[in-house]
Symmetry: C2
DNA sequence: TGGGTATGAGACACAACTGTCTCACATGAG
DNA sequence: CTCATGTGAGACAGTTGTGTCTCATACCCA
């Protein structure tokens, strides 16, 4: 018998492949009937919202696991740099599971999710500000842009993976290296 | 009286704000009735497809305007570098108009558009390969990844602009600089 | 074995959107 | 003025997906 978590996981996986999947599609992906899916999640919005919340949970957890607040507060360049490396790898792992959430139109328009997302950006930006102060990141880039840029590279990585252009194992190094030093020789 | 092009332009503008707009929404945005919109475009797919085609036209035109094939063939580092600068600025201008097309689920799943898009990526990749050979871009990055990365930065720029985090005038420099040299100090 | 629980299949009403059609009206050209 | 053309308003049917409900059944546990 499929648990609520099993269903969420299946929906997640399927949405990463087909962002416009219907409830019938998601039920099929979970190997259950549509009726049973509705027993778990009354509405499609409920399901999406739950996935959105979990994706934000993961984002928040990654910030904590990489100790972004600690690194930012320390002001230590080496520590901040290690934190950035760690963060990129964690974000990539998160987007393996929640990649669809990066660009899902519903999630991007749900007010409470957007609000929480903004709050997380704020915490991430604090790290970038500290990184700039410590000389780890360029001080001439708006920290919010740095956040957007890393987000964009995650979208790029997701699409490269989906398009079969790159093996997963290369992504960590590519994203980090592109993020930090760009594409120029 | 609104021409077909006026209608397309209005739809484009509105889709950049609300990617899930209905035909009624788009008619309203164009200041015409839904019936008239259907006189211009029999189906929603027709409209989307036309916009998708035009966005690919613009992409192709930008590659030509920046003389990517010429620069690639020349093998001249200075010329290739200038071409890249030009290309980034043009892509950003294109995404002012066609930003929604970057992540629109329908456009990304329409087989003929995807096919044409792949062909354009191919031509873009040729430029990156030449840039790597000329020592302009890092040779250790897969050229396809470079293409994805720039695409990701365009998404980032669009979102930063939409979120009001950055003024339009700063985008060219930020995207180019981040693309080329990254965020690291 | 019997009873409670979860499920699948399917019917059903409903909502939103789509695409078509008609008709009345405005406007501009001749 | 008159006619042709384009338009808006609205009715209409069709489609798709949603959410609810019922009922038979399978399964697990006592």
């Amino acid at each position: 018998m499929a648990t609520r978590d099993d269903v969420l996981a299946a929906a997640q996986r399927h949405l990463n492949v087909d962002a416009r999947a219907s409830m019938a599609d998601l039920a099929g992906a979970a190997g259950i009937s549509r009726a049973t899916l509705h027993r778990h999640f009354a509405t499609r919005e409920d399901l999406l919202h739950e996935l959105g919340t979990r994706s934000l949970d993961r984002w928040a957890a990654s910030l904590v696991a990489a100790d972004a607040p600690g690194a930012a507060a320390s002001g230590d360049a080496v520590r901040i740099r290690a934190c950035l490396d760690d963060l990129v790898a964690r974000y990539l792992a998160d987007s393996d599971d929640f990649g669809f959430a990066l660009t899902d139109p519903y999630l991007l328009s749900a007010p409470d999710l957007v609000e929480r997302s903004d709050a997380l950006v704020e915490r991430e930006v604090a790290l970038y500000v500290a990184a700039q102060a410590a000389g780890v990141l360029r001080a001439d880039l708006p920290p919010r842009w740095i956040s957007h840029a890393l987000y964009g590279l995650l979208v790029a990585a997701r699409d490269a993976l989906l398009g079969g252009d790159l093996p997963r194992r290369d992504l960590d190094a590519l994203v980090l290296s592109t993020f930090l030093t760009g594409a120029q020789r």
